[in-house]
């Protein structure tokens, strides 16, 4: 077929377009493959929140959103890599809240992930504490900030008096949570650690929409349950020993003696194991994060795994 001159040029240009598009993409792909590890955003070019605030020329809202996204993304990437290095989480959250002090999700994120020790958090309870105080200063009517602060005092600092005070303040707000006065009372009495902790995590779970925080709360609740069940089972073993003068050999012994019914299992469905020295152990400690009891002697509490990668 005879082709017009214009048609030939068009065809040639189209061919070049496709060839170079494919070539450029391939080169890019090859370039990414040779890199040792994915590039994480490990540079915080401007770390002074106040400077950044001035540089934003008043567009602080948008910039705060960008930094907030960056903070979440940073946490996700670092968590994914399993490096346990969360150096930039605190400054990123500080910048975010300096730019927009009313960005509540940032405080919540900070309360949950700044304080815990690596690799599940940045291990900076002090930074978490000052972030919460800053948040309350700017949002004095938000019960969740009081809740988070009290939570920190209780879990990280074991300062029950301060925790009680903060929960009380939060409970007095016009809009608050039903558990807040109870928590305040519990703190004052130091009573029922298990119930208190349980209530704290349930409140956390119910009052947030952030999936990462909810999952974290669920794992903690499961761990609390395991701890409590192990404690009770070990108590039963002790009573058996006092009655019979010897340790039970298996769960069947306990059942026959009428202490338990059926085979007790942990929340993941695996039966608890009775060890020869009378201790109770979980079958698979790797899937029960945060448990403190039911572990082999000397074993450290398991940690949540890295997030699943896309592949």
């Amino acid at each position: 077929m005879k082709m017009s001159a214009t048609g030939r040029v068009n065809l040639a240009a189209l061919a070049v377009l496709f060839f170079s598009l494919a070539g450029a993409m391939t080169t890019l792909y090859a370039m990414d493959r040779t890199r040792r590890e994915p590039v994480a955003q490990d540079e915080l070019y401007i770390s002074s929140p106040r400077v950044l605030r001035r540089m934003s020329l008043g567009y602080t809202g948008l910039l705060a959103d960008i930094y907030w996204t960056r903070a979440v993304q940073y946490f996700g990437v670092q968590h994914h890599s399993g490096s346990g290095d969360f150096r930039l989480l605190a400054p990123l959250l500080e910048v975010t809240t300096e730019l927009d002090p009313k960005l509540l999700p940032a405080y919540e994120f900070g309360a949950n992930f700044l304080a815990p020790k690596p690799p599940s958090g940045a291990g900076l309870p002090g930074a978490a504490l000052s972030l919460m105080k800053y948040g309350i200063e700017h949002n004095p009517d938000q019960w969740r900030l009081y809740y988070n602060l009290g939570f920190l005092y209780y879990t990280e600092f074991k300062d029950y008096a301060k925790a009680a005070e903060v929960f009380k303040q939060g409970a007095a707000l016009p809009v608050t949570n039903e558990f807040m006065p109870i928590l305040a009372a519990r703190m004052a009495q130091h009573a029922g650690e298990f119930d208190t902790a349980r209530m704290l995590w349930v409140t956390t779970y119910q009052s947030t929409k952030e999936p990462r925080i909810r999952q974290n709360a669920v794992e903690h609740l499961l761990a609390l349950q395991v701890d409590e069940e192990v404690k009770q089972l070990e108590h039963v073993v002790e009573r058996y020993r006092q009655q019979t003068g010897r340790l039970p050999e298996n769960m069947g012994d306990l059942e026959r003696a009428g202490f338990i019914h059926g085979t007790p299992a942990d929340p993941k469905g695996n039966a608890y194991q009775l060890m020869s020295d009378g201790r109770i152990e979980v079958q698979n400690p790797k899937i029960l994060y945060f448990i403190t009891k039911g572990l082999p002697p000397g074993a450290s509490p398991p940690q949540p795994p890295r997030e699943k990668s896309g592949s």
């Binding site: 001159a5 214009t6 040029v9 068009n10 240009a13 189209l14 070049v16 377009l17 060839f19 170079s20 598009l21 070539g23 450029a24 993409m25 080169t27 890019l28 792909y29 090859a30 370039m31 990414d32 040779t34 994915p38 590039v39 994480a40 955003q41 993304q73 996700g76 990437v77 994914h80 990668s309 896309g310």
Partner: protein
């Protein structure tokens, strides 16, 4: 390469030079010599770092600004002023015009960059009194900057083949900014799943990858640049420019010159 492309390229270069584009060199020289003298007096040990960082950043930004502001006008100005009529009524094909313009503009920028590079090395000599072996990596960084100009010119030309100068400038600059964050973008795409992940990956791969072309802070510390990266970057920049230019040609071929 056919000779008409060369003539058009040369004429574009001549127009740009006579339009006082190279005057930016004066501003650059002032900036660099001022900085060199200043850091020479106040800081210890980081003179070289500051000169390389500042010099190369200025080379890059000055060049990108020139590339965008001339690039967007190359085609539209000729249409607006109707100079194109007397060119295209000659045995000049439209693709020759577009390609000629591209080479004219990149030629201008190469000359500009060579002058600036001389300035950077003079400033380096001034602050450290001798050249070191690691200064060769500064040359590599400069080469990458030129590659970056190729892509910016091609993009400016592409956008101006169908859009107004103002919109072309906005588009090109936006792509320059996005492209400078391209690797973060691809990192982000990798941890996103589902439809959004596909979309993010597509966009992350389509935007020009300027971040791999920026090794300024690396060479400022005297770190070497991998030979493979030089190869990849060269191939990438040439292919990406070719892509944008052929896109520009395809659009311009169909365009009615009112």
């Amino acid at each position: 390469m056919n000779s008409r492309v060369g003539y058009i390229a040369f004429n574009t270069f001549r127009e740009a030079v006579r339009d006082r584009v190279l005057y930016n060199l004066i501003a650059f020289a002032l900036l660099l010599s001022g900085a060199a003298i200043l850091v020479g007096e106040i800081s210890i040990d980081i003179e070289r770092l500051v000169v390389v960082n500042l010099g190369l950043t200025a080379v890059s930004l000055f060049g990108v600004i020139i590339a965008i502001f001339i690039g967007i006008g190359l085609v539209s100005k000729e249409i607006e002023k109707r100079t194109l009529y007397t060119v295209l009524s000659r045995p000049v094909r439209r693709w020759e015009f577009v390609v000629g313009k591209f080479f004219g503009l990149t030629g201008t920028l190469v000359v500009n960059t060579v002058c600036m590079a001389l300035g950077v090395f003079l400033a380096l000599l001034y602050v450290s009194h001798k050249f070191e072996k690691m200064d060769q990596w500064v040359l590599v960084a400069l080469y990458f900057i030129v590659l970056q100009f190729f892509i910016v010119c091609a993009l400016a030309l592409f956008f101006s083949s169908f859009s107004t100068p103002l919109m072309s400038a906005v588009f090109t600059f936006a792509l320059f900014v996005i492209g400078s964050l391209a690797e973060d973008l691809r990192g982000f795409a990798r941890i996103t799943h589902g439809l959004g992940g596909w979309l993010a990956t597509g966009i992350a791969y389509l935007v020009p990858n300027f971040s791999a072309l920026n090794v300024i802070s690396q060479v400022a510390h005297g770190d070497p640049v991998a030979g493979r990266l030089i190869l990849y970057n060269t191939a990438y920049a040439l292919l990406y420019s070719a892509m944008a230019i052929s896109g520009a040609v395809l659009i311009f071929q169909r365009r009615n010159l009112k």
